[in-house]
Structures are given as C-alpha cells and as structure tokens.
C-alpha cells in the first residue's frame, strides 16, 4: 500500500492525463470550436440579409428604389489592415519560438510587436467605422449596417481581448513570472490569436471581397 500511495503521489506530480495532452490545451481547442459557431451565426445573419436592404448605404456602389448610393467599402485600405493582422500571426509564432528556447528578451519583443500590430488593426477598424458612419451607415440605417457592424464589431472585440492577453503576458514576463516552463500559456494565447486571424480571413472574404 505504501508503494501504491507513493505511486499515486508521483503520478500527481507528472500531471498525467489520459491523452498526454494538457487539459488547458484541450479546453482552448474546445472553446475555439465553440467560437466557430459564434462567428458562424453572425456571418450567417450577414449572408441571409445580404443585398436585402431596401435603402442604402450599400457595401459597393448600388441603386436602390431609384436612389444611387456610393459604396462604403475601401478594399485597398481594408486589405492593408488585413495584411497587418495576418503579419501579427507571424510575430506571435516568433514569440512562442523565443520562449520555447528560453529567450525571454525575444519573447518580450515579439509579444509587444504582436500587440502593436493588433492595435494597428483595431485602430484601423475604428477609423473605418467612423468613415462609414459619416457616409450614413449606422447600426439602425439598414440591414447591412445592422449585420456588418455587429459582426465586425464582435471580431474587433475578440482582437482587443487578444491584445489585453498579450500585454498581460508581456507584463508577467517583465515581472519575471513567466518562466520558459510556462511556454504553454504563450502557446494558448497564440492559438486564440491565430484563430481570430483566421476568422478575419473568412470575414474579409465573405463580407468585403465576395461580389454582389
């Protein structure tokens, strides 16, 4: 029995799991799977109402009930901000690679770079929203405004939460409380960050690029 207790005790320290994967990693994947349905529902609402607004403004140039509207979208502008967000996935990978090699300075640099790129994206979205609003598009102007702002707004909120997570990691690292053995925390933040990027690829394609 001594042996059994000691073994159980040892097993406890190994944090043995049935699959060999860490619990936190599994739960992050489960959360992201769930979040797919979350964005999927908003995207569905957008697609269902696509082209069904009886009045403008429209995403692209349009004529509704004899009234001509300029399109609100500026594809080159949004392409640049989408590129910025995608590049932040690269810096995120570099941050993880750094801490896995025990390079704390590299970790901090790349975490900061990722957070900055993310902030550029969110700032760009803020500017875009303001421009659209000035062109007459609001939450209540038409179905396009309703579905567009809520969908992209919740994506922006996800990016913002990601930035807060990145800066929290940076602070934790600066306080010396993020040892290399804790690289999983960085990895999980990375999973979330990449997911938010992938969602933007879908949104950018479906909302901005798909022709009417």
């Amino acid at each position: 029995m001594e042996h059994a207790v000691a073994t159980a005790h040892a097993a406890e320290h190994e944090h043995r799991t049935s699959t060999g994967l860490d619990n936190r990693k599994l739960v992050m994947w489960a959360f992201l799977a769930s979040d797919c349905l979350f964005f999927g529902s908003f995207i569905s609402a957008y697609m269902i109402y696509r082209g069904r607004s009886p009045s403008g403004p429209c995403p692209h140039e349009c004529v509704l009930n004899g009234v001509h509207y300029d399109g609100v979208f500026n594809i080159p502008y949004t392409s640049v901000s989408a590129f910025v967000l995608l590049m932040s996935s690269l810096t995120m990978v570099l941050a993880l690679a750094a801490i896995q090699r025990g390079n704390h300075r590299g970790l901090r640099i790349w975490l900061l770079a990722t957070a900055l790129l993310g902030s550029v994206f969110v700032g760009g979205q803020y500017f875009e929203f303001t421009t659209f609003y000035q062109k007459g598009l609001s939450l209540s102007s038409n179905l396009f405004g309703t579905t567009f702002f809520v969908l992209t707004g919740f994506h922006g909120a996800h990016v913002t939460v990601g930035i807060i997570m990145l800066l929290s990691l940076l602070l934790t690292s600066l306080l010396g409380r993020l040892p290399a053995s804790d690289s999983l925390t960085v990895e999980l933040t990375g999973l979330y960050w990449h997911f938010v990027d992938v969602v933007w690829i879908v949104i950018f394609t479906v909302v901005y690029l798909l022709p009417m």
Binding site: M1, E2, H3, A4, V5, A6, T7, A8, H9, A10, A11, E12, E14, R16, T17, S18, T19, G20, L21, N23, L26, V27, A30, F31, A33, S34, D35, C36, L37, F38, G40, S41, F42, A45, I48, Y49, R52, S53, P54, S55, S138, L139, S140, N142, L143, T146, T147, F149, V150, F154, S168, R177
Partner: protein, 645 residues
C-alpha cells in the same frame, strides 16, 4: 504525524494548506466537485419549487372556464417563466448536479479538469437564475413564451424590461452552461483512470460527454441570437424587425432559436437517458444490453439533433421541399432513440429485477418517454403537425418527454445516488408511495391534454369559454397537477427524514457496477486514496468478481500499458482501495500525501461581476461598470492565484 509515517510519505511531500475556510465560507469558496454538485442540486430543486408553483397557478386558472383569477398579462408571464425556469434552471442544472457528483467518480478521477471553472459555472448559474427571476419583484417578468418569438420581443411591441431579463438572464446562464460543458468534455477526455478506455466508460459518463458537445456547439447560436435581440432592443439594430422599409425577417429568430432549441431538447434528455442506463442494469443484475449500440445511438442522436429544427416551423410556410426534408430527418432521429428503448427493455429481459424506487422511476422513464416519443413522431408528419401546432397536444407531447422523460429519469438518479452523496438511504416505502403519486398525478395531468389538443384547445390562452367540450379534461388536468405537487412534498419529507435519521448506506448499497460504489459514502474529499486501474466495462463489478475478468482474458499488465499513452506509471496494485477497507483510511488528503486545490474566492467574484455587468443594461450603466471591474479583478486574481495542488 504518525499516520504520515505509516504511509511512508514524508510530511514535506504535501505543502501545508494555506487557506482553510470553515462553515458557510467553505461552501462559498469550495472547488470540490461533490460539494458543487450538491449546491447545483439544492439550487435547482429550489427553482423546481418556483417553477412548480407557477405551473400550479396556471392549472388553477385553467381549472374552470371563464376564470378571472389571474390577469392575462400575469398569465403570459407565468407560462413564459414556467417554461424558461424548468428548462434552464431545473432540468439542465439538475443534470449538471449529477455530472458533478458522478462523472469524476465514475472515471476514477479526484476532481474535474478545472475545479475553479467548475465553481464559476455554479455561481454564474445561481446569480443568473436569481437575476432572471428579479422581474417578479418589479412586476415585469418576460411574457413572450420560452421561445420568445420575434416580433413579440421587439421593443415596439414589448417595451417593458421583462424581455430584457429574459435575454440577458439567458446570456448569463449560457456562459455557465458553456463553462460546465468545456470542463466536463476535457475531464472525460483527459482525466480517466488507467484502463478506462472510451468504450469502457459508464453510459452516464458517455451521455455527459455527448451532452457537453451539444452545449459547446448549440449555445453559441443562442448566444448570438440573444445578443442580436438585445442589440435590437437597446442599440437600434434591425435583426428581427420586419417593419416595412426595414425588411428584416422575424423568421431569422425562429431559425436561430430552434437551431439551438432542438439540440437543447437532447441536452435535457440525454443525461436522463444516461441515468436510466446506469439504474436498469444494476437492479436487473445484468450488464446493459448492447452497450456499444446504446453509446453509438447517443452519439447519433447528438449529430441528428442539429438537423431537425424546422419541424418546429412547419406552419411558417417554408415550402414543401424544406418541410419534406425535415420530416425525414425528424423521423430519422426517432431511430436511435427507439434503438435505446429496445436496449433498455432487453436489459430488463430475464434479469433478476429489484423494484426499488430508483428502478421504478427508471422504468417509468422508459414507458412515459416512449409515449412522448410516439406523439413526437406524429407531429413529424407535416399535415398532422398542421392540425396539432399550437394546441394542447403539443403541450402533452413535450411534458411526456420532459417530465415523463427527463424529470422521471432525474428522480431515478436522485434515489440511486442519494446514498452515495449523503451516506444515508432514502426510505423505500415513502419513496414508492411518492413514485406512484407522481406517476399517477403526471398521467392525470398530461394525458387529458392529448384530448384537449385534439379537440382544438390552443396553447397559451389564459381562459376559454364554456361548452367547447374542454371543461372536464381541464378540471381533471388541474387535479392531477395538485397530486404531483403532493408528490413533491412527499419527496421533501423523505429527504428530510433521510438526512436526520436515514439508514446508513455503506459504500455500495445497491451492489453496483461502476467505480463510484467502490469508495465510502459520502466519498472522502480526495475520492480515491489510490487511483483505480480499470480492467473492463462495469469496472467495480469486475473488481468484486475477479474471476469474470479472468474469463474475459484480461490481465493487469496489458491494461495498464494500454491506457497511459506510452507513459509508464509504475505498478499500481488495485483494486484494494485502503479507504474502503478500514475507517482508519478515512484520513484527510494531507496525511495521504494527496494534493487538493484550496478553495477560491475568485470564481464567486467573477460570477457576480458577470451578472452585474449584464444587469446594468436594465438597472443603469453604473452597475455594468462595477460588474466589469469585478470581472477584471476576479479574472486577474484567478490567473495569478497560487494553486496548491
């Protein structure tokens, strides 16, 4: 420290417990899955009494024609809150109570994967549930039905805060369900004892697993629908606004609601099916008939449940193609369900049956659920559904599956696992009396509703004229409702008697098959002094009857190596759990060298913060601000809290 020496574990092996809470604070800060399960059960039962009271008021109003006892507006609030309460605050959390109490014990784990997240689920559930019911105090509860169809819920037609309590309350409660589902999915994937392969898991654990995934995939959809509704009501969006010049579509709500709502039906019933699959074999003294088929049927139900939602919408005019497709899928979902019913019957067949109260409830589940299932198939047929839609026939149907099914199954679970949780048996004589009162009361209440529906009585009417042929059956149904209320009082009496002077249960009162019966009742905080090694299905039965394991050609060594993903964990000698053999082993975790996580305040703080944050939309943004601060504080303190064990 003598005991420590006996076990050969140096005293330094376990770090000293830094924070020990006692009394009520030990419950508030608890992260022990068994205690959280008890909290879930007691809270859900309190909501069961509230929801039952609402039902009694409804039945009292409908007992006689032209009744003026209850104002129509109050009546709308009563049936809305009755449905919402019974689904989100009673059946779901009662099922979660069993997930909490039973699943870690059945898979041989010391706790769930994320104990503090588990506490967070509970505290969000209880604060969200109270928030949802606050409308009663303001005289403005939600009144658009538990499905809250658009446009009834748009601000123009429903200006009061009632509908906000509903939308925000369900948003809050949804996060509790999701947190729980993530936790149990990971617990079941990752925390199984050595040898507990997936196809050796008890069926209740399996159904918990399937239910968790249904929640993970169905709740985001309702979350989005509720966010859109809230934005429509407060921020001027037009998601469900069908007014001319806006051209939104109220059917979008219907689609989203039922795309969530039909999986939700299986979220309610699969745990009860799991309970019944545990109870029937034990009291038939036979293994479950066709274990693999029962498991696969449960998974099949989970998949198909996402493809049947339009059968709630046959009368909305989606056209013959959509109707025909969803007629077919709805018929199809009856197949795995029917397969399970035959498996349960075949489990009983030739068994040596003990008609305990738990067994009676399990048999009642099978028979009542079959009746409800058959009436369900009858409205899968589109023309038939057009006749039945919006009548009392539908009310009869879903009460046969949700009360005759889910609640009967949950009562089977209560009688079955009560001795494990409390260490004392419930009185069987009282239990059987209570069972028959409930069963008769249930059928007297809901049986006649089939006739009422066929005679054309619509749902959701606060009264009806004389001479429609509805008087007799309404009176009968109301009498049945009071009979059921008496049955619930009998249960409370039984529970109180058991807690005070119930017969001590011992570890294994039913001669069970699964691991929860291999440890004392109530289980020690650490559950298993030694993590058991599982040699086959019905793990505890095989430990009690090792010759069966030999006959099945299993040996210890191959089972151990099989399970641990290539990692050697040493030789674990089981099945002799010291805590079972002698009371001396009833030591605290510390002296056994087992790390248990400390209690934590942060789940409670975060949960209150979340509910305050949502409630601020009704009571003022200052409350949202306070809630946000509490959430941020709770989350950060949580992340940086040193975890002991």
């Amino acid at each position: 420290m003598a005991t420590t020496v006996v076990h050969g574990v140096p005293a330094t092996a376990a770090p000293p417990q830094t924070r020990v809470y006692r009394g009520i604070w030990s419950w508030v800060t608890t992260v022990d899955h068994k205690r959280i399960g008890v909290l879930y059960g007691v809270t859900a039962f309190a909501f069961f009494l509230i929801g039952g009271l609402e039902a009694l008021l409804i039945r009292t109003q409908l007992a006689v024609p032209n009744n003026t006892l209850i104002h129509p507006d109050l009546y709308n609030q009563l049936f809305t809150m009755h449905g919402t309460t019974m689904i989100f605050l009673v059946v779901m959390p009662l099922s979660v109570a069993f997930f909490n109490i039973v699943v870690p014990l059945q898979i041989g784990a010391r706790d769930v994967a994320f104990p503090r997240l588990n506490a967070l689920s509970y505290w969000i559930f209880v604060t969200g549930g109270i928030f949802l019911n606050l409308g009663w105090l303001l005289g403005a509860s939600p009144n658009a039905g538990w499905f809250s169809y658009a446009n009834l819920t748009e601000r123009a037609y429903n200006p009061g805060p009632g509908q906000d309590f509903w939308a925000l309350g369900l948003l809050v409660l949804g996060t509790a369900s999701m947190a729980g589902a993530f936790n149990f999915a990971v617990t079941i994937i990752n925390m199984r004892a050595p040898g507990m392969s997936l196809m050796r898991m008890p069926v209740f654990t399996w159904m918990t697993f399937v239910t968790s995934f249904l929640i993970i995939f169905a709740f985001p959809i309702i979350t989005v629908a509720l966010i859109e509704l809230t934005f429509d009501r407060h921020f001027g969006t037009n998601f469900f606004n069908a007014a001319a010049g806006v051209d939104g579509d109220s059917l979008l709500w219907w689609h989203m609601f039922w795309l969530f709502g039909h999986p939700e039906v299986y979220i309610l019933i699969l745990p009860a099916m799991g309970i019944v699959s545990e109870v029937l074999p034990v009291f038939s003294r036979k293994p479950l008939f066709g274990y693999a088929v029962v498991v696969y049927s449960g998974i099949a139900i989970g998949f198909v449940s996402f493809g049947v939602w339009v059968h709630h919408m046959f009368t909305t005019g989606l056209g013959p193609v959509a109707n025909a497709v969803f007629l077919t899928t709805t018929m199809a979902v009856a197949v795995p369900t029917g397969v399970k019913i035959f498996n349960w019957i075949a489990t009983l067949w030739g068994g040596s049956i003990r008609l305990t109260t738990a067994m009676l409830y399990a048999i009642a589940f099978v028979s009542m659920f079959t009746i409800g299932g058959l009436s369900g198939v009858s409205h899968a047929v589109v023309p038939s559904d057009w006749q039945q839609h919006g009548t009392y026939y539908i009310v009869a149907h879903f009460h046969y599956v949700l009360f005759g099914g889910a609640i009967m199954g949950l009562f089977a679970g209560i009688y079955y696992w009560w001795p494990k949780v409390t260490g004392r048996l419930l009185d069987e004589k009282l239990g059987k009396l209570q069972f028959w009162v409930m069963l008769i009361g249930f059928n007297v209440t809901f049986g006649p509703m089939h006739f009422l529906g066929m005679d054309g009585m619509p749902r959701r009417v606060f009264t009806y004229p004389e001479g429609m042929g509805w008087d007799l059956w309404n009176m009968v149904a109301s009498i049945g409702a009071y009979l059921m209320a008496f049955g619930v009082l009998l249960f409370i009496h039984n529970a109180a008697v058991s807690l005070r002077r119930g017969q001590p249960a011992g570890g294994d009162p039913w001669d069970g098959r699964t691991l929860e019966w291999s440890i004392p009742s109530p289980p020690p905080a650490y559950n298993f002094a030694t993590i058991p090694v599982v040699h086959g299905r019905d793990a505890w039965w095989l430990m009690k009857h090792p010759h069966r394991a030999e006959r099945e050609g299993t040996t210890d060594t191959d089972r151990v190596d099989l399970q641990v993903a290539g990692r050697h964990v040493g030789v674990v000698e089981t099945p002799d759990d010291p805590s079972r053999e002698s009371p001396a082993a009833y030591e605290d975790a510390h002296s056994l060298g087992i790390h248990l996580p400390d209690g934590s305040w942060f789940p409670v703080i975060t949960a209150f913060g979340l509910t305050f944050f949502a409630a601020g939309l009704i009571f003022g943004m200052w409350l949202s601000g306070i809630g946000l601060l509490m959430m941020v504080f709770g989350a950060y303190a949580w992340c940086y809290e040193p975890i002991n064990g």
